[in-house]
Symmetry: C2
Subunit: 247 residues, 2 copies
């Protein structure tokens, strides 16, 4: 497993800012830095033994992704997980991946099907408690779908939005429906192979809607990590989806 020790020195030969951004992003998404934690440019600069400037630039990037909240002249804190942001990110992913999968089914490529099935086999081999590895494989699977229809550039935008969803993912360490997710991956590939556009799309949408089922439980278990709308959870009002169940 990759070392994630925050104190491991950076590689001075490589550009500092991207390294810092990645490290801090990981620490936030994995909840090592918890929502509400204060974080200051000078502090981080000291820890990694660099100047404030690259730290600042990393902060700005993370603030753009909604992971930090910079209040000028006041402080910078790790932002809580905005409920609405999670829903928005999920909505975007569903919309985008629905079309990607539909395209994929339309332009089916047999070699690709094989690659995808092999990748799913890797997912099955992951131990039930190794969320880390599974997350990487899951991410890879979805990126492969985008790549396959020539929309690799599209996926990089999705990644920028995914941050809030990933934080939720790392909070649901237990009762993670790994087997179900793998089964859904298989069903998506099945539908693509069958060139069934509608079924492929519907399977992808259901797959991406699954987190909505688990979100309330994760929030209930970690209420202080979330930034909820007034009056607590009322998903039926604020988060209509196209599925019907959540309208």
């Amino acid at each position: 497993m990759l070392q994630m020790d925050p104190m491991r020195p950076l590689d001075p030969a490589l550009p500092i800012t991207p390294q810092l951004t990645q490290r801090l992003r990981d620490r936030i998404i994995r909840n090592h830095l918890k929502p509400g934690d204060r974080i200051s440019e000078t502090e981080i600069a000291k820890v990694y033994d660099v100047s404030r400037q690259p730290v600042r630039e990393a902060f700005i990037k993370l603030a753009d992704q909604g992971l930090l909240l910079i209040r000028p002249q006041r402080r910078t804190v790790v932002s809580r997980i905005a409920y609405q942001d999670v829903l928005d990110a999920r909505f975007l992913r569903e919309a985008i991946e629905a079309d990607i999968v539909r395209l994929l089914a339309k332009t089916r490529d047999d070699a690709l099907i094989g690659t995808l099935r092999a990748q799913i086999e890797l997912q099955k081999r992951v131990h039930a408690d190794d969320l880390e590895t599974f997350t990487q494989l899951d991410e890879q699977f979805h990126r492969m779908l985008a790549d396959a229809v020539g929309k690799a550039g599209t996926w990089s935008f999705v990644e920028g939005v995914k941050a809030q969803m990933d934080r939720v993912r790392f909070l649901s360490l237990f009762d993670y429906p790994m087997a179900l997710l793998i089964e859904q991956h298989t069903q998506i590939v099945d539908a693509v192979e069958a060139r069934d556009l509608d079924r492929a799309e519907e399977n992808a949408r259901q797959h991406l809607r699954l987190m909505l089922d688990y979100l309330p439980g994760v929030i209930a278990a970690n209420p202080s990590f979330f930034d909820l709308p007034e009056g607590g959870l009322a998903p039926s009002v604020n988060t209509p989806t196209l599925g019907g169940e959540y309208t």
Copy 2:
């Protein structure tokens, strides 16, 4: 009309970086700064009479949006309009707005319909050569759709992606199909009012596919502004859509 003179001094009471970012972004999107133009931190800093630091931060933001290409230790140039980026941005918008409009038709709100129709009336009153005003109204129209389904946050994501599309828009100053766009807006609202989910979605998709018809002409008229794939335009290969015409 808003003053866009690049030399107008910034407001020193407000944060410099966002002001700079906005100004530069406008100048690039409106092609005052043309693809390939060199641009340097010190130069811009002198023009606006600020230090290099906020300029640098603005550069980074614009590079993230694909408007600038920063080559460390070499130079920074206004990036050409990447053909693939335009297609990707359009694809994302179609996927997202298709779902937004579908949701809208599902949760129809009579008051909203009236607001939208009134907004379309404003579009009709714009003079044929006033692309500036029409662009603002068109943008507002689409944002209203997102707002109406509680997906305002989603729209800010779209805005980040839209930059490359907007550059194309400002290149197609003439033969701009304003009347057709307005007609399509009307058809979208009609379908929403009729609660016809499928037709609303299809109308939105067609609306957002329209630029594909004009893109080749714009490119042919401004070839040096674009960054084309090897061997020139082959949209039928590289840009499958769900519509069928471009598959």
